[in-house]
Point group: C2
Chain length 371, copies 2
């Protein structure tokens, strides 16, 4: 039994593997960095896995060690919160391919003593989930009381339910999708091309030199626009000028929204590895749960006993409500118990991370109903 | 009287200037490259100005000299077409700041004998319109029977009606807006940052060396996504793979949409100057017709006798129908005669360039009603 009273203890484990990947490759060793919150019950029945988004990390409810910022979901996870660490044992693992301690392109390949870089295998959402399952085995967790995630975290939650139906009693899928659309792929491809166009990228082999920060910043800027709603951007910035009374008739950041985007782009390069950005966006673009199940999404959930809560936001144009509705229809076709709600929020896709009290209530109610 | 029977003759004129710009600068000499189609009537009453979009050109209804492709609006402009060159004298000028023969950053500054590069003055949509007015003076055209444009061309049409109300009898504004929103600015800023992040950009001073093609291609890719609808992308590409049966588990273009975007980006760099892209996107971002008129858009049209036709497309998320509606409301508040229609099309913003027969009928009817 895992008894971890130390709130937010940073942990890393080397799992023996090999992990059999969707590409056919076998990957070993598999390092997974993770955090746990709360105590695993004697019957091991109170484990909850929270899955993070593209550029997220395992620092769910405790400060990020590099930035010092609070955990990214303290609103949702903690003592007395909707995901109640006073009652549940909550696990959050850095996804395979990322750069916060889990194996990724920046990790040192023990076979060469140098970073994998582009020799790291291309992975899928399901590969991330398989690595998490190996971690749960290590932690002595058989069945999850719930798997919860927003955005790419929601893809993992869906993949968990489809891949390990007997290990998931409930799944909460927020602002997510069962497949990446052509537009989703297109935006990611712009980001990848921006990284690869940076001469510092050097085919991924930049770890001993300067990182392709300029390209990664452009990638982040483009992606960031997709996380916000048009109305939200208008409300937050409109056409307001940055620190001046009049237009400069130049190419400095005249508008607040320009300055904000530039800051978002640059700040991101301090905390994220460009190659990880390539690998994780690739995994998301490859995600198509129907394709993994003979072309019919309902097949992914046939016979499942997992309960599902699906939540979308009306201003999310990255994974719009129609994508959630497609998931719900497949769940109904598969006979799975599924609740679905579209919430109203001005924040666009990012709403799942922000102050939307209705989301807290929905998650709290769904988690409580499963006790 | 201009009597130009030669269909599609390429022309360029050096206007003495100086052109007084919104920035306060005086610019001279002003070179404008343009095309004319049809014959100016003896009473000079049949002149129509068509304004092109961001990366468009004056080759409206005749082949592009560099690419050999047909004119960009042959569907709309030609003998017997909605804009009928058998009856009207149609003018299309390359906008100030562009790179198809009109003065722009790639032009040689006569004062130095070298390209202006970033010493070219920052311009506005109204500056483009003022340069066009100088061209019309040169051509002996006083009053326009109509000014017509889509996207940035529509901004120019609105600016024409607001700046020279006595010279515009009718304005057709398609898939456009009276101001750039925060989201519009954000997408353009991503493109500019992509160009400027390319080491070949060299603060704009690249004309004697390699152009920042990689950065400009990324800029074009990001912009291109905004020109298409999500549904259009799904219909055209979906998740179809490019020339293979299975995913490559690599970073080549696996999906057709990736390959399409890469091609769009690279092809663009063959025909467009990166600095022109900076300047013209800046002009669009600065565009806010209300701001130029005391903060109230209706003031831009108070007392006008210009007839307006405003057209939007239901899948255009770059300049959505709400932006057209704001223009129409201002026109009504100003007492201007204005017709408005939202057309249904799967093509997103690009619909104004594509096969939308309803658009042809609307333009034909509006043009005919003005005879």
């Amino acid at each position: 039994m895992i008894d971890d009273q130390r709130f937010g203890l940073a942990r890393r484990v080397t799992l023996p593997g090999p992990l059999r990947l969707d590409s056919g490759a076998a990957f070993a060793p598999v390092e997974i960095a993770y955090e746990t919150y709360g105590t695993l019950a004697a019957d091991r029945g109170n484990a909850v896995l929270v899955c993070h988004a593209l550029t997220g990390d395992q620092h769910l409810a405790s400060a990020h060690p590099r930035t010092g910022k609070p955990g990214w979901w303290t609103r949702m996870v903690g003592p007395g919160r909707p995901i109640d660490t006073g009652r549940d044992f909550v696990v959050c693992a850095n996804v395979l391919g990322s750069c916060m301690g889990s194996s990724g392109p920046a990790s040192v390949d023990p076979a060469t003593g140098r970073p994998y870089a582009m020799a790291f295998p291309v992975i899928t959402i399901r590969d991330m989930v398989r690595a998490q399952a190996m971690l749960l085995d290590h932690l002595g967790v058989g069945t999850l009381r719930a798997v919860v995630g927003g955005s790419m975290g929601g893809m993992q939650a869906l993949s968990w339910a489809a891949t390990f139906p007997d290990r998931v009693r409930a799944a909460v899928v927020i602002a997510s999708t069962a497949r990446h659309t052509a537009q989703n792929i297109a935006f990611h491809e712009v980001g990848r091309q921006a990284v690869m166009a940076d001469p510092n990228w050097r085919e991924g082999d930049y770890y001993a030199a300067s990182a392709p920060a300029a390209g990664l910043a452009v990638a982040r800027m483009a992606a960031h626009i997709t996380y916000l709603s048009e109305a939200g951007l208008t409300e937050k910035f409109g056409r307001r000028l940055q620190g001046r009374d009049a237009k400069s008739f130049g190419f400095d950041a005249d508008f607040q929204v320009e300055s904000y985007l530039r800051h978002q782009g640059m700040a991101f390069t301090d905390r994220f590895d460009a190659n990880s950005y390539l690998y994780i966006t690739r995994a998301m673009d490859y995600f198509d749960l129907a394709e993994e199940h003979g072309g019919l999404l309902a097949n992914a959930f046939r016979g499942t006993r997992t309960r599902f809560a699906i939540v979308s936001f009306d201003t999310d144009w990255l994974y719009p409500t129609a994508e959630s509705r497609a998931v719900v229809q497949a769940l109904h076709a598969a006979g799975a118990p599924a609740s679905f709600v579209e919430l109203s929020s001005p924040f666009g896709h990012d709403a799942f991370l922000l102050d939307v009290p209705a989301l807290d209530r929905i998650v709290a109610g769904f988690m409580e109903a499963g006790r």
